[in-house]
Amino acid sequence: MKFRTPLARVRGLGSARSGTHHWWMQRLTAIALVPLTLWFVASLIMVVTADHVTAIRWLHSPLVTILCSVLIVALFYHAQLGLQVVIEDYVHSEWRKLVIIVFMKLVSLLLASAALFAVLSIAFAN
């Protein structure tokens, strides 16, 4: 520890320069996802057993739009954090690891955007 400068110690960011941010965001999104997932699954059981009009009417309400949007953001944020750790653990070639992580993050962003687009387009449709 005596080799670390006082500034490095007070910053507390470690050798990866990101500190506990990854760990903390994974927990934060996990906590958010507990009630959101239970609500979403319970609602989905009611909705998917009915017709399209029921599904649209459900997604059309402001509260559902907001909660679905938060769910999508938290879900994909949580998923890409978890997948990043899995890739870091099992892919040992540095450049391959980097390429796979970047690809995975961009695909996550694409899927999250598509899901948000779908939810919002239903919300703002007449």
């Binding site: 927990r27 996802l33 997932t37 699954v41 399209h52 899927l111 899901a115």
Partner: protein, 133 residues
Amino acid sequence: MPMEKSQRPLSPHLQIYRPQLTSVLSITHRGSGIALAIGTLVLVYWLLAAASGAEAYASAQHLLGSWFGRVVLLGFSYALFFHLCNGIRHLFWDAGVGFELQTAYASGKAVVIVSIVLTLGAWALAYAMRGGA
């Protein structure tokens, strides 16, 4: 910096150890997380179908309602409830609670039982809502 293959002996590898409830649940948490991440494709597909209109939605419902779709959704729902329950177990550990061996095994058993009960309950409810179909 490229890492040279070291000639030093390695610690005993995974397959040396007899699987225990705790270790099996640990790797299942990771496995279910990966499965759920891939499963988000289904969620995105369903949402886009709902946004595209009645016809696209009907064909999505048809696909997801087929026997193959139901098998996928059954696996997906179990992975979800398992990851949810075991995730809550992890959150308790993060708070510094439940590390005693007995407690870790008890919470592990609880996770297995509760996740199965939740999955069966969700499907029973879905079939009841649908009226048996």
